[in-house]
Amino acid sequence: MKIVVCVKQVPATTAEKRYTSELRLDRAATEAVINPLDEYAIEQALRLKEGSVVDEVVYLSMGPDSASEALRRSLAMGGDGGVLVTDPALAGADEWVTARVLAAALDRLEPDVTLMGMASDDARGSLVPGAVAAIRGVPLLAYGAELRLTDGAAQIRRLNPTGFDILEAPLPVVASVTDQVGEPRYASLKGIMAARRMELTTWSLADLGFDPADLAPLTQVVAADPPPAKPPAQVISGVGPDEAASRVADWLAERKLIA
């Protein structure tokens, strides 16, 4: 059984973010990390491998050359190989373009399970897993708090409004998991050294059979501005709890939030 985990390199949560004159995120100027939510997908895949359910865990990333670093950091946690799809024509890729390119790479890798994080830090659509599933014509099992694999089928535990459901679909599937699967492990020194020596596979769009002209994004950003600055908070400090409670109630009443 083979799992391909898709990992995305994103700006670090704390990093300053800038847009280029083409209104694209300036990825070169920004400190980059593995998308934190992808680490849960990595953790889930490695646990399944340790449980002997899965034989092979391979990472797939799409991004600039520097995204190979995200693959090495993933491999340092564990796993068997990494594939980078990189091409200058992919700058500014939207969900549709990203999903098509990942789907084409997955057609070659032929995993039983394609696993992704539930969202990426730098965009919050969470649409890529489902779009990839649709393009590949396989079932989607998204937002799993846990992924289980049985003979020929995958199951996820997914929250519903009052509890959870177990969803099942026959393999192959595209699945995504949440941060409830368990805390991602730290890479060991041995893992980091081994990952450094590992050979990564690199594919261009031509390698995947695409004509870049057919991969024009379907969306365009026409403006990007920082949000309006919020005025500093009014602070209540250094008063007793009765006084604090009374002042909060006054503040709420002034805004008609309480009667």
């Binding site: 489902g130 649709a134 998204a142 679909a169 024009a216 379907l218 009014q234 209540i236």
Partner: protein, 325 residues
Amino acid sequence: MADVAFLAEFVDGHPTRSALELAAGAAELAAAAGGEAVGLAYGPGAADGAAGMGAAGAARVVVLDSAAAPAVTVAGPLVEAVRAAAPAAVLAPATPNGRDLAAVLVGSLGLPAFGPVRAVHMEGGAVRCEMSTLQGAMITASLPAPSAPATSVVLVSAGTYVPAEGGSGKAAVSQAPAADSPQAKVRIVETAAESAAIAALEEAEIIVAGGRGVGSEAGFEALNQLAAALGGAVGASRAAADAGWVPYQLQIGQTGKVVKPALYLAVGISGAIQHRVGMQAAEHVVAINRDPDAPIGEFADLFVVGDLFEIVPRLTAEIERRKGA
């Protein structure tokens, strides 16, 4: 002239809150585009409740399926219905079910996708979407590319639109033809109810949210009482949900719910950026925290530095007293 479609999820014959909000949004956008709001209904009882969506703003409703199956299983009829209706936009709720269907739609038909949006407008028959991106660091505006298909898929956060009140009229109802899809293979093999009644946070006008500082499951009792006094609901940060003090359904933030209440009271929540993205659209934010340097102070309107265990019960009592006065 362009129609605007929306996903309308039903439970037990009734439209969900998101269906009513999106009906109002689709009606507003369709009016601007000179078209009609078209509901795409699914879920248990969708066929029975479909006509009633007229009061919420829908001119027509296409029933995709009324089975009690995972939402994603209606992908086949959904794709065909959208292909046939060719609306300018399909509004989908930014919920797991809504995103599943939106994503399959994008992948099946090759459509431009946006969201979750904080505002949508129609411009020349196409959508213009405003989004908060990079965890709130940027506000972007996006359009479909000139070469893109005419239908855009737009994820809409809860609370973006207000359901129409006192509407009347019936929507014209039709049944979508059956269509196969790989998503029809997904099934629910087990369902477990962990909590009997969990308030729908997305609908709450007032939310009292607790974090690590609340310290225990018992600590949340004081928050429950404050929420009851305010007529609001209780939410939590990831730390509190991970600790098992509250069910995960109450988690607010990047990996939980995104809420937009009139008042958000953050109690013992430090205010990590992952929490912030779930509540930054709240109209008023009040924080109670022992740590004067907690990041929540940067995006609160009122920041109370003090011991939540002393302040929260007194605030509850004070609110009750004023109500009684």
